[in-house]
Amino acid sequence: MELIWLVLSLLVLDLAALLFAADTRPGLQHSSRPSLTHLPRWSGHHSNKG
């Protein structure tokens, strides 16, 4: 039983560290919506590069 509480405590620390180190910058975001809907009108849908 002591082992499982140790595991549980370590897992909480593990997840907290992962959350802290998570690299979720905008460039890594994914969306199910078609990319064209995100383009500004003036782009003419020719390129999605900023």
């Binding site: 595991v7 370590l10 897992l11 593990d14 180190a21 690299d23 890594l28 969306s31 199910s32 064209l36």
Partner: protein, 324 residues
Amino acid sequence: MNAGVPLGLSSGLCWGAADFFGGIQSRRLPALTVAFWSQLAGALALAIALAIEGVRPAATGIAWGLAAGVGSGCALVLFYRSLAEGTMSMVAPISACGAIVPVAAALLTGNQPGILAALGVLATIAGVILVSRPHTPARFAPPAVEGDQASPASSASPASSARGGRRVVAMALGSALGFGLFYVFVDAGAASTAGTAATTGAVAAAAAGTAGSHGSPLWVIAGARMSSLAILSMIALVSRRSALRWPGRRIGAVALVGIGDTGANLLFAYAATTGNLAVVGVLGSLYPVATVVLARWLLRERLSGGQNVGVVLALTGVVLLAAA
């Protein structure tokens, strides 16, 4: 309250979180690198747990575990790759559909799955079809994988996005097949060592594998870890040796993913031995929910209405299969 319920829920949470963060790391490193180093870290954590428990190894359990690891090793690479390239909220429920494979195996071996399993299969298939509908393709942001030349183009056109979306769905289905085979072999190992009848529920099968091996509940998983590491090394040798290179400063996060996965296995094994296996199996099968919630929260992923219905249907199917 029985400790099985909170521990079962915790195991599902940890599995889903480890999957999410494994996918995040796979957007920066090759999926094979993440899979290998996280599995290695998980194997070391498992070795420590086995040393603390002091249980003797069971040859039969390890042998079936070795077979199971072949499926999980291949599945893990496909899973991380699809999480990195696609929408995690789509990929996680599709990959969880490996729960169908034990039902198919039961049918092939002459066993008749019950009504719950049949309903679970139908709900899962309908959910996958809805989630992976081609008219709402995933938009592909550049994963910027370090050293991975096979990454998708950074500026994908709608047509190439649709092709990429199909590729992601295919990889997620491939990972589901691999995880499903893992469940089947773990179940067979549990049946051979504990003398119990084979189950059809996927997570229940994994639970049987970790809980029913006569005092050596974790040796099946240890065997699976060994062979999955061997398979990942072989894949790296066949494809590119550099795929197993040292992850550098990301080793900490990658190792935490593997340790989280192993910790979830330990929690599940303990929950299955202390609580009702049927209940614990269902709770553990909820792991894609954690991945979906984290993807919505941290990555702000949004799905269409139909895809959301598909996610719910697929998860319902997985829960039904776990309860069968």
